[in-house]
């Protein structure tokens, strides 16, 4: 009888430990998913901000007409892209990055733009938005990588600790900012 009691206690501890371990894992996954949601929201906010800043610059009369048209069109495309369609959305935002690099290519031009009070505000806001897009995407993908790593664990898969949450995806896009804007980001 004594032996039985001993084993019951051992089993009880083992069970308690396992449950504790599993609940710790589950809450880590939960927290990572939360972190991804926050990071994604932040990236979306920054992309909208960037498109607005590009549009404001396009409508400001400070750019030459051809550049203004390019930026205005890119901003329009970003606004109209379907956020649910990840592939199209990534393409449109990458297009915006490329257009920005094409239009804002030379440092002298940027200096000239920043010569007026309005121009300075517009350029600095755009530069800051570009910088924040890069940061937000990097931090988002970092969180996704951690989550995917954790979810690939055996215990997590065996006990379905991630529930029905879909496996998170990285955001792939060209977010490199115009080099001439870097000092103002």
């Amino acid at each position: 009888m004594k032996v039985d009691l001993f084993w019951i206690i051992v089993l009880g501890f083992a069970l308690a430990f396992t449950i504790w371990r599993l609940s710790a894992l589950a809450s880590r996954i939960d927290r990572l998913h939360h972190r991804i949601d926050l990071a994604r929201a932040s990236l979306d906010t920054q992309l909208v901000r960037r498109a607005r800043a590009a549009e404001a610059l396009a409508l400001s009369d400070l750019l030459d007409p051809a550049s203004a048209v390019v930026l205005a069109r890119a901003a329009g495309n970003c606004r109209n892209a379907d956020p649910a369609d990840a592939a199209e959305w990534g393409l449109v935002e990458s297009e915006m990055s490329r257009d920005l690099r094409e239009v804002l290519v030379d440092p002298e031009g940027i200096d000239a733009l920043r010569g007026t009070i309005d121009g300075r505000e517009l350029v600095d806001d755009l530069a800051s938005a570009c910088n924040h897009v890069m940061l937000a995407r990097r931090f988002h993908n970092d969180a996704v990588q951690s989550a995917r790593l954790l979810r690939s664990g055996r215990l997590v898969r065996l006990f379905r600790l991630a529930g029905n949450a879909p496996l998170p995806d990285m955001v792939e896009m060209d977010d490199a900012m115009p080099p001439a804007l870097v000092p103002y980001g």
Binding site: W20, S23, A24, S27, R28, R31, L32, R35, L38, A39, A41, S42, Q46, S128, N131, H132, L135, A136, R138, F139, N141, D142, A143, Q145, S146, L149, L150, P183, G185
Partner: protein
């Protein structure tokens, strides 16, 4: 924004990370933000009022040097109380990948957490393997990772995966502004300067001393100021007699005398053969208006903007160093150009620009109005249903 900075190394022992944390705090305050610091300390009474004592440190030898850190339930409770009472918008820990106050602070908090990697406390794969299962849950809370050098970033990527934003150490350019030289040693008499441990071969003094006789043949009045600790007599005994009277040893210099010595020099020479991850002295020299000639190791190339802001020579090659020095000493126009470019480059690394970049990171990880909360649910006693309701009282009870 109100930022909590955690320094894992003893505040009362001078060191790179503590200095970085202090400078970052100053720069954040100058940009109109608030910052408080948590750090281990030997002597609580000596702490400035913005530093909270994180407990007594113990000495650990790591990577051949001694680190004063602390760990355990006592420091954990202190960290938790500090987080709870400090009303933080951002928790920014430094060097978190080891058993330190930084890791403890992450464990006891929930919310926007940012971490900066300086070098690496971790010296081998085996160390990280021993810790990784325990630290990983902490690492997952870090929303943004910053590395101060490409070297730190690489070791971070290699050991923990993921990526980091590179934001270098700052330089206080204002400390090197002006042009006050050492007494009676105005710039313009073909003076070179070296700073670093004089008996540490990797700092490269022997290479400069080997180049000097070659330079002296072309530039008869060339002379060298040597600043830094080490055995002067030993180095002096090994000097080529031809140049012995051109070399002046300043010993270990104060920050003020360092700036003065730079203002007395026409060229700063950095002959380091390796082991440098950044090269802050190069930026200080550029901020002081002294053109730089440095070995072409990776870190220096980067700081000198691939040769735009300074001159490089083949690493370990005294003959090439001599050639570059003779050329530059004979070309005042090129020196003037390097002075201008150098000042621009140094400004990019000024603490004000560095702090602005750090702030951009803070902004992108914090969702409107979010705060750093002291986290009880992560502690195993915090998970017990009984404790869940009135959790805030237990910090005092667990205090060792």
């Amino acid at each position: 924004m109100r930022v909590g900075l955690v320094c894992p190394y003893a505040w009362d022992t001078p060191g790179g990370v503590a200095a970085h944390v202090n400078d970052l705090r100053t720069a954040l305050m100058q940009l109109g933000h608030e910052a408080v610091i948590l750090a281990p300390a030997e002597d609580e009474d000596a702490l400035p009022d913005f530093v909270t004592n994180g407990g007594k440190p113990i000495s650990i030898s790591s990577n051949g040097s001694v680190a004063k850190i602390n760990f355990g339930p006592g420091p954990a409770a202190r960290a938790r109380r500090w987080v709870r009472d400090s009303d933080l918008d951002i928790l920014h820990v430094h060097e978190p990948a080891g058993p330190t106050l930084s890791l403890l602070s992450i464990w006891v908090s929930e919310g926007p957490v940012v971490a900066t990697w300086h070098s690496s406390l971790v010296s081998s794969r085996r160390d990280i393997a021993a810790w990784s299962p325990i630290i990983r849950s902490g690492m997952e809370k870090i929303r943004a990772r910053i590395a101060v050098s490409e070297y730190a970033r690489r070791s971070l990527v290699e050991y923990t995966g993921g990526d980091a934003i590179l934001i270098p150490n700052g330089v206080d350019c204002s400390a090197y502004a002006g042009d006050e030289p050492l007494p009676g040693r105005a710039r313009g008499s073909n003076t070179l300067m070296f700073l670093g441990r004089i008996d540490e071969p990797r700092k490269g003094l022997p290479i400069l001393l080997a180049a000097l006789p070659l330079v002296a043949r072309a530039v008869p009045d060339v002379n060298v100021l040597i600043a830094g600790p080490g055995d002067v007599e030993q180095v002096r005994a090994g000097l080529d007699p031809e140049i012995a009277d051109r070399v002046e040893f300043l010993g270990l210099v104060s920050e003020l005398d360092k700036a003065r010595a730079l203002h007395s020099s026409d060229i700063y020479v950095a002959p380091n053969t390796g082991g440098e991850s950044f090269g802050i002295i190069l930026l200080e020299s550029m901020a002081a208006g002294t053109p730089v000639v440095a070995s072409d190791i990776e870190a220096f190339q980067r700081v000198l903007a691939e040769g735009r802001a300074g001159v490089t020579f083949r690493n370990g090659d005294p003959a090439d160093l001599a050639t570059q020095l003779i050329e530059l000493l004979g070309d005042p126009q090129r020196r003037a150009r390097l002075r201008t470019e150098g000042a621009v480059r140094a400004e990019e690394f000024d603490w004000s620009s560095v702090a602005r970049r750090v702030l951009a990171v803070y902004q992108s990880v914090r969702q409107g109005g979010e705060k750093v909360e002291a986290d009880f649910s992560r502690q195993f006693w915090g998970r017990l249903p009984l404790r869940r309701g009135g959790g805030s009282g237990d910090a005092e009870e667990t205090e060792a």
